[in-house]
């Protein structure tokens, strides 16, 4: 039986991206700005295919940017007038998103769709195509396999690419993906041999993820340990309360809202915030999470206890950024390994 999948030669990726650029603003992994991010495709550079493992700044930034204008306002003799920035959202295509980061967007969707729809997030999210690229070389900090995923998990992308040597196997996952795949001029039908190679690549990648976290009953254990101050103080001791793990986490979404007065008008912005900062919960008279261990507890429990309580899913995809980028090597897998089973 012929495969319904296709394949494309790696040297044709530049042409493919140019094809897609006709319809979308295409984003690819880039180090141009000085750190690895998803940046606008410059029309030629495909060198990321050689160095790219994952970005430092996750593609969350394409949907929930570090800062964005919510609206601006002006005052005249009739009073205040509010004006929205355009919210239609340009059509963007993110090429090379890793499964962990795509899964993270699916987790973010739950919050931004919940109770009240968030127009800023959803206008971008609904206009975004995700082209997944399976990992062949996960970091030693990665632990996606412990969270029911894998380095080649295609669940939350539109199109999935798997490295099969000189070529990528292309699978269409969503309807949008099918439409895209049908229109790729340089793609060929994938053969059974290609499928076999892809299967091998998936297994190899899976086995390369060596960091393991046992998540069985983790939410129950955390609930039982919520008041175990000794445990949390021990866990929190070396944390410096910076915002790296949260701000760069693909599933962390907390934000702040602030007004600014600019020339001739004012504007309201939202920007990413972090539960690691004491000011995040500071009220004029008191602060419920002034102590560091309470903030660390909130961060861990939000991902592994509260989010499962609210949305039935752990808000962590095992991307490992929080481990990789932490300046004191605070490691959430070590933290969770030693949660006391009972209070």
């Amino acid at each position: 039986m012929a495969s319904s999948n296709k394949k494309i030669n790696k040297k044709d990726i530049g042409k493919l991206l140019n094809e897609w650029s006709q319809e979308f603003t295409v984003f690819v992994p880039s180090r141009e700005t000085g750190t690895a991010t998803m940046a606008k495709w410059d029309g030629k550079d495909t060198s990321f295919l050689d160095w790219y493992r994952n970005t430092v700044v996750s593609p969350k930034a394409n949907i929930l940017p570090p800062m964005e204008e919510m609206f601006h306002f002006q005052k005249d003799k009739e009073g205040y007038h509010i004006e929205l920035p355009p919210l239609d959202g340009h059509k963007q295509l993110i090429f090379g998103i890793r499964p962990c980061d795509a899964n993270a967007l699916a987790i973010l969707d739950m919050t931004f769709n919940d109770s009240y729809e968030d127009p800023y997030y959803l206008s971008k999210r609904n206009n975004t195509i995700l082209i997944g690229l399976g990992c062949t070389n996960p970091y030693d900090s990665c632990f996606c396999t412990s969270l029911g995923s894998s380095p080649t998990d295609a669940t939350n992308v539109d199109l999935m690419l798997t490295d099969i040597g000189d070529e990528f196997l292309i699978e269409a996952i969503t309807d949008k993906g099918k439409e895209l795949m049908a229109n790729i001029s340089l793609a060929e039908e994938a053969t059974e041999a290609d499928e076999a190679k892809a299967k091998e690549a998936r297994e190899a990648a899976y086995n390369k993820v060596t960091r393991q976290l046992d998540i069985k009953n983790i939410d129950e254990k955390l609930l039982a340990s919520f008041d175990n101050q000794d445990y949390w103080e021990k866990i929190a001791a070396k944390c410096i309360s910076c915002g790296i793990c949260t701000l760069l986490c693909p599933t962390c979404y907390c934000f702040d809202i602030n007004d600014e007065l600019l020339k001739g008008q004012g504007a309201r912005f939202r920007s990413l915030d972090s539960c690691s900062f004491p000011v995040y919960t500071k009220m004029p008279m008191e602060n419920p999470r002034l102590e560091k261990w309470r903030r660390v507890r909130n961060k861990v429990c939000h991902k592994y206890e509260f989010y499962p309580m609210n949305f039935d899913v752990i808000a962590c995809t095992g991307c490992g950024r929080c481990i990789r980028l932490c300046p004191v090597n605070w490691d959430i897998t070590q933290t969770l390994d030693i949660v006391p089973a009972k209070a």
Partner: protein, 290 residues
Amino acid sequence: MTVTDISQGKRFLAQGNVYLPHIAVIEKVIDETPGVRTFHFNFKDEKLRAEFTFESGQFGEYSVFGVGEAPFCISSSPTRRDHLEFAVQQVGRVTNALHRLGVGAEIGFRGPYGNSFPMNFLEEKNLIFVAGGIGLAPLRSLIWNVLDNRNKYKKIDIIYGARSPSDLCFKYDLDSWNKDKTVDMVTTVDKGDESWTGREGFVPQVLEQVAPPAQNAVAIVCGPPIMIRFTFPVLGKLGFTPEQMITTLEKRMKCGIGKCGRCNVGNLYVCRDGPVFTYAQIKKFISTEY
């Protein structure tokens, strides 16, 4: 029933973007205490003025454009629709800016947000309102709501306290509740001054002395966190179950709609799942985080 049963699922404001404030105009400013003011306001848009509805316990996000936004409960009763009210203690950037505003000034309002007091659950019950300081603001909306439908409820007790006589808010309400023969009102201050002839003592202690029976009763508590923390055990001693204790919580908030993150008590967001909670809902987390 639980308090969150009232939550209405997906809710949208008329124009779709939930973050856009409506322009409202301040109509009256009342000095409650040296640091607390009540603002009366109305929407600039007449259609909205006519259509706007809310329930006791809900809150709004109030903007001073160019300075920022802050959440305050709607302190007036939905039974009194002439205007809306909110009370503000001057404590930070936005509240300072609000205190600089006078009659005619424009503010932004979005809401109403959050759940509300479980009116059906309260019917045919004895109600004990326990409030401290500016914590009376949300209860005041409920108290007037209840008094405007007096025959639906049984006995009503109000125990209200403040640090000093000058810190008592809503004195005009206290006067009328004192005069109301269908209400048992106790006012207390932590420490009186020369002219104070009323009761002295902390709210939880006074509650213990008043000792309202728990039978067919609901206690509705709001005040500074320290007061709330000490009031629940007293109610417990008086025989109230955690389901019979209702409170409304205050946290730092930004979005007001369960997204920005910071107001959680455990897995519950005060803005989305509250601000009204039974003690049963929050007791696991509240012991250490509120």
